[in-house]
């Protein structure tokens, strides 16, 4: 197990990389803050799970992916989509439920994805995407492709049966997959100690003879190094791994939760001091990689980018209600058959059979 303090050698870090990582974390932070605001203005519906504070765990890991690698995430996925490279405007449009959204407005906040970029989604049933991600790793192996899967999920997912079955399958079948626990220390209001008989979650790997490792998830370089290393082993040696990145969510579980009943103000404050973005900024300026004015410039750039994403997404069209039945099934014959169904009537019943309109 690598220790939290073991920041990887700085040789890894050139200016371009530093800027890219910093910029992406800043973009996500800004995007999430404005998302919260858009939610309170009722432009976004449903659940809205922010990952403010967890940017290093997301960005560090995703930055370590190579072309052809595949990614899965939980519903707390706004940052994931951005880190993968999806256009902020397409992500915001999805949150607004617009036709130009990444999922054409069908998925919303919890189900962002970008199959072109091999981001296979944001998923809403805790733990359930682990077996699915495992199947994608199986497909890579079946096709003898040189890539691997990164599957991210929360600490709460570790207690689901799906976690166990997925890790065992990955282990016994030697699949190229890295399971990343983004341990923000709570599943809604339940602490890891309360939900896990083994609160050192990384130790669960041993149950599958798998490599397990815990790192400081607020250290973007540590996350990036560990992910790159484990994904490398997965790609080359077809050996899966479990990576636990310790982080914290500053906000509540969702926008509806103040996040204060189950944790103390001191605890939150202590984590704010470890803000991954501030910390990485400091790291970079100390090492002369980024000047303060460059940092300031990034912040104003991302603010502008998010603003224009919002503006553009606001102007986009909602899906046409007449397309309601599209995409239930794939092949076109079926699509046609189902598109003529009358909304609300039993399946397969045709609108034109009735004289009255709905």
């Amino acid at each position: 197990m690598a220790k939290a303090a073991e920041t990887p050698p700085d040789t890894l870090l050139d200016k371009d990389t530093a800027l890219r990582l910093f910029r992406m974390m800043a973009l996500i932070r800004r995007f999430e803050e404005r998302t919260e605001e858009q939610y309170t203005r009722a432009r976004i519906g449903g659940y809205c799970h922010l990952a403010i504070g967890e940017e290093a765990s997301t960005v560090g890991a995703i930055d370590a992916l190579e072309p052809g690698d595949c990614l899965y995430a939980s519903y707390r996925d706004h940052g994931t989509a951005l880190a993968v490279g999806s256009e902020p405007v397409a992500v915001m449009a999805e949150l607004f439920g617009k036709e130009t959204g990444v999922a054409h407005g069908r998925g919303g906040s919890m189900h962002l994805m970008d199959v072109q970029r091999r981001f296979f989604g944001g998923w809403g049933i805790v733990g359930a995407h682990l077996p699915i991600a495992t199947g994608t790793a199986l497909a890579l192996s079946y096709r003898d492709l040189p890539n691997a899967v990164l599957c991210q999920f929360g600490d709460g997912a570790v207690e689901t049966g799906s976690f166990h079955e997925a890790l065992n399958l990955a282990g016994v079948w030697d699949l190229p997959i890295v399971f990343q626990i983004i341990n923000n220390q709570y599943g809604m209001g339940t602490s890891v100690e309360q939900s896990s008989a083994e609160p050192d979650l990384w130790r669960r790997a041993a149950a599958y003879r798998m490599h397990g490792e815990r790192i400081d998830g607020n250290d973007v370089l540590a996350v990036r190094e560990a992910t790159a290393r484990l994904m490398g082993i997965a790609r080359r040696e077809r050996r899966p791994a479990l990576l636990e990145t310790i982080t914290y969510r500053f906000r509540g579980h969702s926008v509806a939760d103040a996040g204060k009943v189950y944790r103390s103000a001191e605890e939150i404050e202590s984590w704010r001091k470890r803000d991954p973005i501030t910390r990485f900024g400091l790291h970079c300026s100390e090492r002369g990689l980024l000047e303060q004015d460059e940092i300031d410039q990034v912040w104003s750039d991302v603010a502008a980018e998010v603003k224009s994403a919002i503006d553009e997404a606001l102007g986009a069209a909602f899906p046409d209600p007449d397309t309601l039945y599209e995409h239930v099934y794939g092949d076109s014959a079926w699509r046609e058959q189902f598109s003529r169904m009358r909304a609300g009537a039993p399946f397969g019943e045709r609108g034109e059979e009735r004289t009255w309109q709905t």
Partner: protein, 330 residues
């Protein structure tokens, strides 16, 4: 008579039963400190402590199973599944176990357990969080399935369910929680399971619904009443057993039946009910039974699509008018 919310009625029923019977305990995710994802259990953890209001990890299969094993020992667990969508990971425990134990073991042991869980849609929660799956459970011998649609029933039926000797799936609805209504003052008030209720009288058409859709049905009846059309609304209340006789009685009077539900119509609650009504009222019907349900799509996120998918009042009304037209009333 006091006015309160559906949520508060449920909370009181839990509180009363916890106070009354030491064998009753609650179990579920976030039901303690967090007060329940939808706040139904607010204050009970503080009042009864962590043993009787037991917070669980995200292990529905595990803790539904644990509820069964505790119930087999004579305890009366009331298990909360945060929403009915998540019960699918515990489906084996409910169907292959809770429902079969008494029979499979020749009557030697029963499972007096309640599973409380809200279903329903309408808040843009998308495909994995907007389902109404109760019909599937209602098709399974060995469990009872109820779905109260009023504040008084929420209170009275939850108490009855907790006292019942068999597993009861107690279906709540996300949109109902904030609905207010009146509740009898009688602290011993209970409502038997398995009986439908005529909640509005009318002569022109019988509109049958359960859970939140009853509220929609009542609004449709009010609207159409302004045009002189009197709709009789039947609240099913229980899906297993199904009180088809109360429905049939109404249909014999009105000669027309429309069933509305939030779930998918095909193989849904309305399918069984339509089959029954036709059978029981074959000579009384002026037109075939009509159904309105949620559009048969995984629920989309975008508001205009979601609205197009929901069985809104406008769609129920259109179906009612269509049915009346079909049977000669314009």
């Amino acid at each position: 008579m006091a006015d309160l919310t559906y949520r508060e009625a449920l909370r009181r029923a839990l509180d009363d039963e916890l106070a009354r019977d030491p064998d009753v305990f609650l179990m579920g995710e976030e039901i303690g400190r967090f007060e329940g994802s939808y706040k139904v259990t607010a204050g009970l953890w503080q009042k009864y402590g962590p043993e009787r209001v037991r917070e669980t990890p995200i292990s529905e299969e595990g803790f539904v199973g644990a509820g069964i094993g505790a119930a087999m020992m004579g305890l009366r667990p009331v298990v909360e599944i945060m929403t009915i969508n998540f019960i699918l990971v515990a489906m084996d425990q409910v169907i292959n176990h809770a429902a079969k134990i008494r029979y499979m073991f020749g009557g030697a042991v029963g499972v007096p357990m309640v599973i409380r869980t809200p279903g329903g849609a309408g808040a843009q929660l998308t495909a994995q969080h907007s389902q109404s799956l109760e019909a599937w459970f209602a098709g399974c011998p060995g469990i009872k399935v109820v779905a109260p649609a009023s504040v008084a029933d929420a209170y009275g039926m939850l108490k009855t369910a907790i006292r019942d000797d068999d597993p009861v799936l107690f279906c709540e609805n996300l949109v109902m929680y904030n609905v207010t209504g009146t509740m009898p003052d009688d602290p011993d008030y209970t409502v038997p399971l398995g009986r439908a209720a005529v909640v509005r009288e009318g002569s022109d058409l019988t509109l049958v619904a359960h859970s939140y859709t009853v509220q929609r049905a009542l609004r449709v009846a009010d609207t159409m009443s302004r045009d002189g059309i009197e709709i009789e609304v039947v609240d099913l209340r229980s899906l297993r057993p199904l009180d088809a006789e109360t429905v049939a009685e109404s249909v014999r009077k009105t000669s027309r039946a429309l069933i509305a539900e939030e779930g998918w119509s095909t193989y849904g609650v309305g399918a069984e009910l339509a089959a029954r009504i036709h059978r029981l009222c074959f000579d009384d019907l002026d037109a075939p039974v009509e159904r309105v349900g949620g559009a048969e799509v995984p629920m989309p996120y975008s508001k205009p699509l979601e609205l197009a998918a929901l069985p809104l009042e406008s769609k129920i009304e259109a179906a009612a008018r269509g049915l009346l037209a079909e049977s000669g009333i314009a």
